[in-house]
């Protein structure tokens, strides 16, 4: 065999080998990317399934226990004689995250209170929409005086406007009507906004606390609940049941 022929045969062999190696490399790359995609698909599939299972909303069809206005402006909802555990709920009627909490767990709170498993203390702040929140917090107290706080509270959160739009006195009187308040003293009470100064002072004092991170804040027997306890039915139910 001549030198040239030998060389070209070698070259051909060499090219063939390198082509095969390139092919192998490409296949390996595709396989590795494919397995990465599979990992993503599995992780996403599992987490989406778990999260949609956890993201249920509570509903309570029964009668919530009576809610009564306290001298400090808070409102206590508890069955007769139930004094612990104490669940403090810091809310603002115009706070969107509070609406989220209410959508998820309003039913849980009312059910647990109705079962006598918890004493609920609503502490309403007014800062999200300074004007609208203040009017709403005052109206909440008026509704408590009329004996319909729970109903008013549910209607107000269901119909919460964008927080940049202040709730008007007429909005709030309308909520009272929807909540079944017929006593004309309610409308007068809403208009007078007698408790405004007390609510503002309470708001200022609460917000100045370094541990306070905004609404909603839930404190169960002194312990601040975490997000998964606030925003999942299972989380809140377990927290309260374990505290009993």
């Amino acid at each position: 065999m001549g030198k040239a022929a030998k060389l070209s045969a070698r070259e051909r062999l060499r090219e063939e080998r390198s082509r095969a190696a390139a092919r192998q490399r490409r296949n390996r790359t595709l396989l590795i990317i494919g397995s990465a995609v599979a990992v993503v698909a599995v992780v996403v599939g599992v987490i989406v399934a778990v999260q949609s299972g956890r993201d249920e909303q509570s509903a309570f069809a029964g009668q919530a226990p009576p809610a009564t206005l306290q001298s400090d402006g808070s409102i206590v909802m508890a069955r007769q004689g139930v004094t612990k555990p104490v669940l403090e709920v810091y809310e603002d009627f115009q706070c969107p995250a509070c609406k989220e909490f209410e959508t998820v767990n309003n039913g849980t709170v009312q059910r647990l209170a109705a079962e006598g498993k918890v004493k609920v203390v609503y502490k309403t702040l007014a800062f999200v929409n300074p004007e609208g929140s203040l009017r709403a917090a005052g109206a909440g107290q008026c509704a408590a005086t009329a004996g319909k706080f729970t109903e008013f509270h549910d209607v107000a959160f269901e119909n919460q406007p964008d927080e940049r739009v202040a709730l008007t006195l007429n909005d709030l009187k309308g909520f009272g009507e929807q909540a079944g308040i017929t006593d004309p003293a309610f409308a007068t009470c809403v208009d007078r906004q007698k408790s405004a100064a007390q609510i503002q002072a309470f708001t200022k004092q609460t917000l100045s606390d370094k541990n306070f991170r905004g609404t909603p804040t839930l404190i169960l027997d002194g312990r601040q609940l975490n997000q998964s306890e606030i925003y999942t039915v299972d989380g809140l139910t377990k927290a309260v049941t374990n505290a009993a």
Partner: protein, 219 residues
């Protein structure tokens, strides 16, 4: 073949020493932030959905799915970055995700929404004085730069890619072709040859060069 050995060694001598460690650091950094962001969003699925809805970009039907799936995607990408599996591909996806985040935040800013980005849980509407759009965008640009670094230099230390032979050395010389290739695969050589470094489809270019070199040497 003495020449070949010397060439081969000098080729190895050109292997970057610092870059694979930098890539490892970039991988861990990006994985850390993605993993943290993903896990922070898991606590309250209802809030994660609301954080997505606050951007007012997606229809309600998609919002729920994205609210559940986004943290999952972040966690999956973080796991893959730590493992170093399909590193360049994963870095490209992570970079695109950052671009989407930046675009979303910029669009919220431009439309005058006052929202928290919800990047690490929470999210939703905040007071106008509490928006942090420039900081959020700058932060995500930083993570985008990390992703870009990994895309350009995907070979790092402690990567599954190397173990699986993604970067096997290109065929070295006519007589050693078979063994060299097998060595590359078997030993899980993290760096491979300098030729392949940094080029997108390193294999073909490297091979062509090697064939020419080999022919020249033989002649």
């Amino acid at each position: 073949m003495v020449t070949e050995g010397v060439l081969s060694r000098s080729g190895r001598g050109r292997r970057p020493v610092v870059q694979p460690w930098l890539t490892l650091l970039a991988r861990l950094g990006l994985a850390g932030v993605l993993g943290f962001a993903g896990i922070a969003k898991l606590a309250a699925p209802a809030l994660a959905v609301r954080a997505v809805a606050a951007y007012e970009l997606l229809p309600a039907s998609l919002t729920t799915f994205v609210g559940y799936a986004l943290p999952a995607l972040e966690i999956a990408l973080a796991l893959l970055l730590v493992a170093g599996l399909a590193t360049r591909f994963v870095a490209i996806v992570s970079g695109l995700l950052m671009v989407v985040f930046i675009a979303g935040i910029a669009s919220a800013w431009a439309r005058g929404l006052t929202i928290d980005c919800g990047c690490f849980g929470g999210g939703g509407t905040v007071a106008a004085s509490e928006t942090r759009y420039p900081q959020e965008i700058l932060r995500d640009l930083g993570y985008l730069a990390l992703a870009a670094f990994i895309v350009i230099w995907p070979r790092g230390r402690f990567a599954l890619d190397s173990t699986l032979g993604l970067y096997s050395a290109p065929v070295a010389g006519p007589d050693e072709a078979g063994t060299a290739a097998e060595d590359g695969e078997g030993s899980g050589d993290a760096e491979g040859s300098g030729d392949a470094e940094g080029s997108g489809d390193a294999g073909d270019a490297g091979d062509a060069g090697d064939v020419e070199d080999a022919a020249a040497r033989e002649a």
